[in-house]
Amino acid sequence: MAARARGCKRRCRLPPRPNQSRLLALLNRQLERLTLLDVLLVAALAALPGWALVKTWRTARGEREAWVYQANRLVGVYRLDVDQTIVIGDQTRPHMKIQVRNGAIRVAESDCPKGVCRHAGWVRAPGRSIICVPNRVLVEVKGKTKDYDAESY
């Protein structure tokens, strides 16, 4: 039985549906009426899944940045995936050295007396902050994965 089935020489092509040509004709007529706005709409719809994918990927990867303030003024926003050192004060006699490494941030050096900021150690989670009251510095880690409004510490 099986051998007969394999050896079948019949051409298994589907017969053309009687109304297929009519469908194609309809599609053609619609395409002729296509305006620029239609094209934009289709493009927007096509872009949507791609955009959603990028957004979820970024969130999952936990794209985070540190917002550094001094005396209630923003010093800068620093990405945590870029290793760098941020100096507060002038370069020759800095007040603080803030270090970014491997997606985490810490106060490496500070001239404040109590060293509360240095004790905070490496910080990486969104919502966490490092405070140095004597130098009036606030480092805030921001990201999209934060699932609480404030932190008790």
Partner: protein, 359 residues
Amino acid sequence: MKRRYEDQRTRLLPATLAVLATVMCRPGVPPVQKRTRLLMDTYATVSVFAPGPQAAAGLDSAFARLEQIGRKFNHLDSTSPLYAFNERNVPITDPEIVHVLAVAQRISVLSGGAFDVTVEPLVRLWGFYGGSPALPQQRQIDSCLKFVGYRNLVIDSGRVTKRNPETRIDLGGIAKGFGLAEAVRALRKAGVDSALIDLGGDVYAIGRKGNQDWKVGIRNPRGDGVVGVVALRNMAAVTSGDYERFFRGPPRESAASGSHFGVRTSAFRDSVRYCHILDPHNGRPARGFTSTTVLMQDPVLAQGFSKVLFILGPDALRLADSVGHFEALLITDSMRAIVSDALVLSKDPDHFPPLVGTP
């Protein structure tokens, strides 16, 4: 006929695009106005969930009140009545300070002196007001302990005096709680019924954030991130910990008796963490816990009891009946968590019941 169809289509298209744009730019969080200022020796953040002008008015009055309390309750500020009391023995008549001192005395009595606002000389001796903290001599601690004790304060008809001229007050262990309570009052007076106040990690949640509760994470004392999240409604969350203000030093024994055999190994030297929360009974940093959190309706009591729990441990949980209900989370120095009955900590903050207080 065809003309009308075309018209409809051109009108429909911008509408579709507008809907798409709204979906794509959907704001992740509801409109919350947030303001951060440096005050009370820390950063204060108030987030208000309210329409624009109302939120701004609420923030203005809350921060004005906090600035005022920050100055008045700072015993290191020469304009504070506390400074005059400490340095020149001037009796305190300011009704707000007297009120807070009365609450502090109540906590002291309930906790058998574990919470005590007169520890100022000890905190000074250990060097926690600045400079470099260091291990003091036992005899220095003993001489300080002579004038430390809440019984040295006399509160009588709106006046606070001291029995011992050496007695000094530091309200740092309770002033932030009062600041929270007053900021709540200022915000409510401005018509705000949804806000979150964060005074350097001591938090109060007013109402709800739209259709969900305010969520407060409790910091992991020995690592990054939080150990869990609680949902709060008209409740305060106050944490005391050993991880912000501390120094490392030699263990108690070698310091008390000089050194063993006249030699101190380097491994021995800096092995103990001395935190800023001092036990008024022995004048030494409290040991055994890394972090204690109290969740309670009254932020002043909450701040006091977070210290009491840090010093006394879970035994102090029985006080929850006599002082008004509170929930608590204690984390021991071996990172074991002790959680009170009704407290639900979660890593998944969408599925657990909130702690609700009356406004």
